[in-house]
C-alpha cells in the first residue's frame, strides 16, 4: 500500500477501533448520554475536544488547516442530524463501525446515510 493510502488507513483503523471500544456504537450507551443518565461518553468527547484545543493551539499554525464558515445549511443541517442521531444512534462514523462490528440493523442506517448524502448532493447541483 502506498504511503498516501497508508496515511488514510492508519487513522481509519484507529478511529474505528477507538469508537468501537469506547462504546459509542452502543445505542444504549449513547441514549444514556443523551438523557443524562450516564455521562461517560460525554466526558470522553469533552476531554477529546479539550485535548485537541491544546494540540491545535500548539501545533495548529504549522498545519495551515482551512477555516469553517457560517453558511445557510449550518444550523438546519445540524438540526436534521441531531434528530437522526437520536433516533438511530448513528453518526456517519458510528454507522461504519457498527457495520464492521457485524451489526445487521446498522446496514439500514448506513444505507439511509448514503441516500441522504446523495440527496444532498442532488439538491446542491440541481
Amino acid at each position: 500500500m502506498s504511503p498516501l493510502l497508508l496515511r488514510s488507513a492508519l487513522p481509519g483503523l484507529l478511529l474505528g477501533f477507538v469508537v468501537g471500544r469506547l462504546g459509542f456504537t452502543d445505542y444504549g450507551e449513547l441514549h444514556r448520554m443523551l438523557v443524562f443518565s450516564d455521562l461517560r461518553l460525554f466526558s470522553a468527547f469533552a476531554l477529546a475536544v479539550n485535548l485537541l484545543v491544546l494540540v491545535f493551539m500548539t501545533f495548529g499554525k504549522g498545519l495551515k488547516l482551512p477555516n469553517a464558515t457560517f453558511h445557510r445549511g449550518l444550523i438546519p443541517g445540524a438540526i436534521l442530524f441531531g434528530v437522526g442521531w437520536a433516533l438511530t444512534g448513528a453518526c456517519p462514523g458510528v454507522a461504519l463501525v457498527q457495520v464492521g462490528q457485524g451489526s445487521l440493523p446498522a446496514l439500514a442506517s448506513l444505507a439511509g446515510i448514503g441516500v441522504g448524502i446523495g440527496l444532498r448532493q442532488w439538491g446542491r447541483t440541481r
Binding site: R7, S8, L10, P11, G12, L13, L14, G16, F17, V18, V19, G20, R21, F24, D26, H31, L34, L41, F45, L47, A48, V49, L51, L52, L63, L65, P66, N67, A68, T69, H71, I75, P76, G77, A78, I79, F81, G82, V83, G84, W85, L87, T88, A90, C91, P92, L96, G100, Q101, G102, S103, L104, S109, I113, G114, V115, G116, I117, G118, L119
Partner: protein, 184 residues
C-alpha cells in the same frame, strides 16, 4: 453484548489522538461525513466547505477554479481513493474492536432501549433507514458531523463548528428526552 468499554479518559485520548494524527498525516481536518461523501460520490469539497468569499469551486460550472482553492489555505481535500480507504479501514477497525470485545458477528438485535422505543419488526428498520437519511443529508448540509464539526472544528475553536455542535447535541438531547416521554 456485555462488553466492558473503555473508561472515558482512554476514549477521550483515543479520539483526540486520532483527529490530531489525521490532520498531521493528511493536512486537512478529520471529518468522516465528508470522507464518506467523497468515497461514495467522488465529489470535490462540498459547497459548505468553501470559504465565504473566494472562487466558486466544486461545481461543474466553475472549471477554472483549482480544487485546492476551495479549501482555503491551499491544502487539497482528500481524493476519492484515500477517502474510500479511510472508510473501509474504519469498518475494519470496528471489526477489530468487536473481536477484542468478544461481541461476535451478525447481531440482529441492538441495545434494549432501541427495541423498547421502536419494537422489533420492519418498523424499527424503517426508523434506522429514515433516521439515516436525516443523518446523511443533515451532516452534509451542515458541512460536518461529530468528527468534522465536533472534534476537528471545536478543537480548533471554529465558531461555526461550535454553533453546529451545540445545535446537533442539543437537538439530539431534546429528541431523546421526547422519545422517553412519548414512546413508553
Amino acid at each position: 453484548m456485555n462488553a466492558t468499554y473503555w473508561p472515558w479518559w482512554l476514549g477521550g485520548l483515543g479520539l483526540a489522538g486520532t483527529a490530531a494524527l489525521y490532520a498531521w498525516l493528511r493536512g486537512v481536518p478529520l471529518g468522516v461525513s465528508g470522507l464518506l461523501e467523497r468515497s461514495l460520490l467522488g465529489s470535490g469539497p462540498s459547497k459548505t466547505d468553501r470559504p465565504a468569499v473566494g472562487p466558486d469551486c466544486g461545481v461543474p460550472s466553475a472549471p477554472s477554479a483549482p480544487a485546492s482553492a476551495c479549501f482555503g489555505s491551499g491544502s487539497a481535500p482528500p481524493e476519492r481513493l484515500p477517502s474510500l480507504v479511510f472508510v473501509v479501514s474504519m469498518m475494519v477497525g470496528g471489526a477489530l474492536a468487536g473481536w477484542v470485545g468478544g461481541q461476535g458477528w451478525g447481531h440482529l438485535r441492538r441495545a434494549p432501549e432501541f427495541h423498547r422505543f421502536f419494537g422489533e419488526g420492519w418498523g424499527a428498520v424503517a426508523v434506522l433507514f429514515g433516521g439515516g437519511i436525516l443523518v446523511g443529508f443533515g451532516t452534509r448540509w451542515s458541512g460536518g458531523c461529530t468528527s468534522g464539526h465536533g472534534l476537528s472544528g471545536c478543537g480548533r475553536l471554529q465558531m461555526p463548528s461550535l454553533v453546529a455542535t451545540g445545535t446537533f447535541f442539543g437537538v439530539a438531547i431534546l429528541t431523546s428526552l421526547l422519545m422517553e416521554r412519548i414512546l413508553r
